[in-house]
């Protein structure tokens, strides 16, 4: 038995926890994630390495991760501990990737065991 839900009723419960107003939004989100992946692949095939390109790649990682965490996993309205931990993880590693790309010598110096 189908049980469609009235959108006004949903909003009156708690608007912030509604992941999508309709499944069409989910379809659009999927297409956005696919497009971002293809942009990444185009960069891999054609772009010469540079700070700007690396910055764009790391930004795409963060954007894709946020979309998956907020909407596919529906964590946006769930426990803030889990939500913020998940988000932090996918900010920290892209930023580290950018820093390692920018300052590899300094990292090598930092982790030398002997002078």
């Amino acid at each position: 038995m189908n049980n469609p839900i009235n959108i006004n009723e949903v909003h009156s419960i708690n608007e912030s926890t509604v992941p999508f107003k309709s499944s069409r939004h989910l379809d659009i989100l999927w297409l956005c994630l696919m497009a971002l992946t293809i942009i990444n692949a185009a960069i891999a095939e054609q772009a010469e390495p540079s700070f700007f390109i690396t910055f764009i790649i790391c930004s795409i990682i963060i954007l894709k991760a946020r979309l998956v965490i907020d909407y596919f996993m529906e964590l946006k309205g769930a426990s803030p501990y889990i939500y913020h931990l998940m988000n932090a993880y996918f900010y920290v590693f892209p930023v580290l990737a950018l820093l390692v790309w920018l300052y590899p010598e300094q990292l090598v110096e930092l982790i030398q065991l002997a002078p």
Binding site: N2, S23, M34, A78, W101
Partner: protein, 212 residues
């Protein structure tokens, strides 16, 4: 087998019929999606992947030439296809959850089957990529970049296997009527684990295939 959940069946429903329905708000601010145990597992797995990423950073800092050259020798198309397949698998999984919330277990099973199919495609593409590498003379001992590449991607491949088992289990639970519109926290747990695998690949793909 408990067939109660399938009695008010949606056997004749079109799989696309549910696409314009509104989904329920499912989690509030105190809710842990799935169950606490799965999140212990998810954060453990993410810690494991974090170690791989740290190893990548250290190796990259020490051998910059190998890491600048390495991605040029990888099969970018295979990596891209696997990313598209994993994103699609997550999308199908969410569609399955929506279908179950709307009391359409048969349609939910179909969407989850698509997710499982994507998992199988990931395996096939990865094996194709490894064979392509071998034919090109690339293995774990080629250099430090490829050592990191093989250990990271093979570890991820294993996790796709564990995730697929979780999806198979969820399908059996829906079919037996144990997961219903109002009671499917086990499916949410399996879904969160699967999305974690997707998220890990979202980081792995650019690190190994794109950044030079």
């Amino acid at each position: 087998m408990n067939t109660q959940a399938l009695d008010n069946s949606d056997v004749n429903d079109d799989i696309y019929e549910s696409t314009n329905e509104i989904t329920k708000p499912f989690f509030d601010s105190k809710t842990i999606p799935g169950n606490p145990a799965i999140w212990v597992g998810i954060f453990s797995e993410l810690t494991e992947f974090a170690l791989f990423f740290v190893i990548y950073f250290l190796a990259r800092a020490h051998y910059p030439a190998e890491f600048e050259e390495g991605p040029l020798h990888l099969h970018t198309l295979a990596g891209t296809l696997n990313t598209l397949v994993l994103i699609s698998s997550s999308y199908f999984l969410v569609k399955g959850i929506f279908a179950l919330r709307n009391d359409r277990p048969n349609i939910a099973v179909r969407w989850l089957s698509f997710t499982l199919f994507c998992g199988a495609c990931y395996f096939v593409i990865k094996l194709w990529e490894y064979q392509w590498n071998t034919a090109a003379g690339i293995d774990t001992n080629t250099n430090n970049f490829f050592a990191v590449y093989y250990y990271t991607t093979f570890n991820h491949l294993l996790h796709v296997g564990w995730g697929s088992l979780g999806i198979i289990w969820s399908i059996t639970q829906i079919k037996s009527g144990n997961f219903t519109a109002d009671n499917h926290s086990g499916l949410i747990a399996a879904a969160c684990y699967w999305h974690m695998i997707d998220l890990a690949w979202i980081v792995i793909f650019p690190l190994l295939y794109v950044i030079r």
